[in-house]
C-alpha cells in the first residue's frame, strides 16, 4: 500500500499542486513511465491488462492493482495549469458511469492532425493534414488515410483527380500507410507523397473534398514537394460530451511522452462543428 501511494504520488503530484513538480528519474525508470506511443496512451487510458507500465509496477514495486483514475491522471501534461473541477468531471464521466467508455485503436472518431512543410513555388510552406485509421472489415487489415487538408496555397476548386484512384487491397505493387505509421511520426509520408501510382490509397475517398484533390493534384504535377511532418496532435472525440487533444512532450521526466494537453467539454450535437472548425471536415 505504501509503495502504491509513493509511486502514484510521484506521478500525480502535479495534479494536487497548481504548479507541477518535474521529477527527474534515472533513464530506465523514466523510460517505463514515458507514454511512448499513442496506442500505449490508448491502452493506459483503458487500464488494459498487458500495458508495459502495469508490468513495470508489478515487477518493480509489487503493485498488482492499479486504479484507473490514478493511471488516467498520469496521462495529463502535469506542467500545465488545469481547471481541476473540469478534470474531475472528466474523470468522473470516464470512470464512474455504468459503462465506462473506452478508446479503441480502430475507432472512427479519433484523428491525427499533422503540421507539415513542403516546397511550393520555391518556398517552404506549412500545411495541415488530418488522418484517421481506416479498418477493412473483410480482411481485418487497416491503414492510415488522409481525410482533409488545410493550407492557404492549395486550390479549393479541383473537382477531378489528375492521378489514378486505386482500389484496395494493395497487392499489385501499390502501397498504403501501414497501421504502425504513427510509431515513426508518419515519416512514411515523405515516401508516400512521391508514390504517385498509389495516391488513391492514401485518401479517404468517403470524405475527401476539393482541398484534398487540390493537394494531391499539386503533388502529382510536381508543383508541390512534401518535406516533413513537423508536429502531431491527436484529437479524441469518442468520450461522450468531451474532446481531448494529445501531444508529445519529449523531456527528462516521469511525466513525458504522449499526454493530454487540452480538454474541452463539447456536447455531442456540437461535435460536427468542432470537426469542421478544427479538423476541416465538412462531411462526417
Amino acid at each position: 500500500m505504501k509503495a502504491t501511494l509513493t509511486i502514484l504520488c510521484i506521478a500525480v503530484s502535479g495534479m494536487v499542486c497548481v504548479r507541477a513538480q518535474v521529477v527527474t528519474l534515472p533513464y530506465e525508470e523514466q523510460f517505463e513511465w514515458q507514454v511512448k506511443q499513442i496506442d500505449e496512451f490508448i491502452d493506459r487510458f483503458n487500464n488494459a491488462e498487458q500495458t508495459p507500465i502495469r508490468q513495470f509496477l508489478q515487477k518493480q514495486y509489487a503493485i498488482e492493482e492499479i486504479n484507473r483514475s490514478d493511471l488516467l491522471m498520469t496521462l495529463f501534461n502535469l506542467q500545465k495549469n488545469w481547471d481541476t473541477t473540469q478534470v474531475r468531471q472528466f474523470l468522473h464521466d470516464v470512470i464512474k458511469v455504468p459503462e465506462a467508455p473506452q478508446l479503441h485503436f480502430l475507432d472512427n472518431d479519433w484523428y491525427a492532425e499533422l503540421t507539415c512543410s513542403g516546397l511550393y513555388d520555391n518556398r517552404y510552406q506549412d500545411f495541415t493534414l488530418i488522418l484517421t485509421i481506416k479498418a477493412n472489415a473483410e480482411t481485418g487489415a487497416s491503414r492510415w488515410v488522409i481525410n482533409s487538408v488545410s493550407a492557404d496555397f492549395i486550390p479549393n476548386t479541383d473537382t477531378t483527380a489528375a492521378f489514378p484512384l486505386n482500389k484496395i487491397p494493395a497487392t499489385q505493387g501499390t502501397r498504403t500507410l501501414n497501421p504502425a505509421s504513427f510509431g515513426t511520426d508518419f515519416m512514411g509520408l515523405v515516401r508516400a507523397m512521391q508514390d504517385r501510382a498509389s495516391f488513391g490509397n492514401y485518401i479517404n475517398l468517403e470524405v475527401a473534398d476539393k482541398s484534398v484533390l487540390g493537394f494531391f493534384n499539386l503533388l502529382y504535377k510536381n508543383q508541390l514537394e512534401f518535406r516533413q511532418v513537423s508536429h502531431i496532435t491527436y484529437h479524441f472525440l469518442q468520450i461522450p460530451g468531451w474532446v481531448f487533444r494529445v501531444e508529445n512532450f519529449s523531456r527528462q521526466s516521469s511525466n513525458s511522452g504522449w499526454l493530454i494537453n487540452e480538454l474541452i467539454q463539447v456536447p455531442e450535437d456540437k461535435k460536427p462543428s468542432y470537426k469542421k472548425a478544427n479538423l476541416f471536415l465538412t462531411q462526417h
Binding site: Y27, F31, N136, A141, P169, N178, P179, M187, Q252
Partner: protein, 222 residues
Amino acid sequence: MIRHTYLRYILVVTLLLTAFNFLYAQPTPKVVYTAKEPQQDNRQPEPNDNAYITFTEEQRQYFTDKAMQKSHDLGRYLRLISSKHEIEEDKLYAIREALQLFVSDSSRVEVSSVNNDLKQQFTIREYLERLRLLSYDKVELVWIKAQMVSRFRKGEDGRYYGIITAQQLFRGFLEDEVAYQDVTEKNIEVVLDRYLVFDEGKKKHRWDVFLSDISVQQTRIK
C-alpha cells in the same frame, strides 16, 4: 605400484587440462537477448493465402521476442560500425549483416534534433555509412532500454506491423575527452512478413520478423 602410477597419471592429466582450460578457454559469450521459441509445431501459423491470420498468443510472443532480438542485434552492429578500433573489413561486414535485419534496403532512418526543426531522411545503407565515417576517435553507443510498445497490426498488404521504442546513449570522444553526447530515442518499425520455402519438396509459407523504418529523435544532452 601400478595403481599409484595410474592414479598419478590421471591427476597430472586432470591438472594439465584444468590449466589449459583456464588459459585458453573462450569467455562465456554474453547473451544479450534470446527469443524463447515455442514448440516446433506451433511456431508458424497455418498457411492462409487469403491473408487474414490470427496468431496465437504463443506465436505473437515468439515474433515479439524475435523482433526484440533483432533490434538488439542492430544495436550491437551500430556500436561496431561506429568504433574506431574496429578494422574496416569488420565494419563493412557489420554493415552487410545489419542490412540483413531490414525488410529492404529502401528502409529509411529519419533523424531529428531538439536544436532545430529540420528532419533528415537517409536510406539505412546511407545511415550506416555515415556512422562508419564519424570523425570521433572513440564512440560509445549504449542501448539503455528497448521495448516492443505497439503490438503487431495487419496492413493492407498482408504484412503485420509493430513498433519497438529504444533509448540510446551516444558519446563521441576526441583525444580521450568527451566531445559530444546525447540521448536519442529510436522508434523502429518492425514488419512480420511471409516468405516461401521448400520443405521436403513442398512449398510452404513461413513468417519472419524484419526491421523497417526508424525515426531517431534526439531527446536531450546528458
